[in-house]
Symmetry: C2
DNA sequence: GTCTATACACCGATAGAC
DNA sequence: GTCTATCGGTGTATAGAC
């Protein structure tokens, strides 16, 4: 159940550990490739192994189980979005509503751009997969960062953050479920954020 | 790929057909039971078969495949909600916002009450399962009925309906994903509908 | 017509040789 | 570290019993 998250790994001391770490990364890359090709749920260890020139049982030296592989992918995906959001939050801030719209659109497009990744990050589509605390950590940090940002805009109650995430989740879900590749719900983003901002008494732009 | 939807089946003429129909219903009931017990994705034909005193291959006389079984369950679930919504729409209408809140809460609670059913109806959690047009029909009718209702409240554009479904989907998703059994997002229902109604220029109650 | 027995290909996972 | 061999599990095709 426990294993180290490749992306967040800091101290790989010996060269053996570095070698092993790069093998993990190679396997992970192959797993993403396979998932994009055949679907997240259709991932098989034999396929992943073949892509890195191994046999399926050999993967067990690098990952405890298939779920551990999913787990590492989950952690990678959220760590990746955390980087995006960090860079976004650090930027010189615009008007409150502009900030809300930018963060909403950034997350929306991050999800819609890669439906397989979104499926792993946000849907619970793999029957018995539950992310480990280690893999879940960057997701928690994303949410904490969002809470902080909302707070600075004057939205300090939990309900305000809960509503914001629900609105985003709903738009993304509907877009991907009913019109993948389209923009029918993407077009509602700004309007939805404005509606939300008004509800939350965030001052208007002009 | 094609087969008849048990729930909507109208004319079972001969007694053989009736017998066969009741066998299908028995299998479906066993499938729901198994899904609730072990999870939707963990459903196995051997388990379902055992519950009705059969062997796994025997199910193939009643259903073309495991996916056909999922498909029939999908159709059953949506047909069931269609009945609920029909009865609700037929009732003497209250104020516009009351109507919106009632329909929102009805769908929300229908979904949250049975997460396994919701997973099948609204999430795409089964890897290669796509509902057939026959099974999807009641879902389409639910949406058409909703559009008609919104129209009568003065919300006639597609965007208005799209936004309403997205708001609902988001609240349900977050409730079930982050706090199954709780009411943290359920408590946001009325507020969200009011926010939406204001955006859509639906007159206030008082 | 209804069901069973058998079999097949594939899966995740383990044991142990090298 | 990576292999081969193998285990118990799955969905499913088919042949045939009755």
């Amino acid at each position: 159940m426990s294993y180290s998250l490749t992306v967040l790994e800091v101290s790989s001391r010996t060269w053996q550990e570095k070698r092993r770490e790069s093998a993990r990364q190679e396997i992970l890359a192959a797993a993403w490739e396979a998932a994009h090709e055949h679907g997240l749920g259709a991932l098989t260890l034999r396929d992943v192994a073949a892509r890195v020139g191994m046999r399926a049982p050999s993967l067990y030296w690098h990952f405890d189980s298939k779920m551990a592989l999913y787990d590492a992918m989950f952690g990678q995906a959220w760590a990746s979005y955390l980087e995006v959001q960090k860079e976004l939050v650090a930027r010189p801030s615009a008007s409150p509503r502009r900030v809300l719209k930018t963060i909403a659109r950034t997350f929306f497009e991050f999800c819609v751009r890669d439906p397989v990744r979104h499926e792993l990050m946000n849907l619970r589509s793999i029957p018995r997969f539950t992310p480990s605390p280690e893999a879940y950590a960057p997701a928690v940090e994303v949410l904490e960062q969002l809470r902080g940002l909302l707070m600075r805009l004057g939205i300090s109650d939990d309900a305000g953050a809960d509503l914001f995430t629900a609105l985003l989740a709903g738009l993304i879900d509907q877009q991907l479920a009913n019109e993948p590749g389209g923009d029918r719900w993407a077009r509602l983003l700004d309007r939805t954020v404005d509606m939300y901002a008004t509800e939350m008494n965030v001052p208007q732009d002009d």
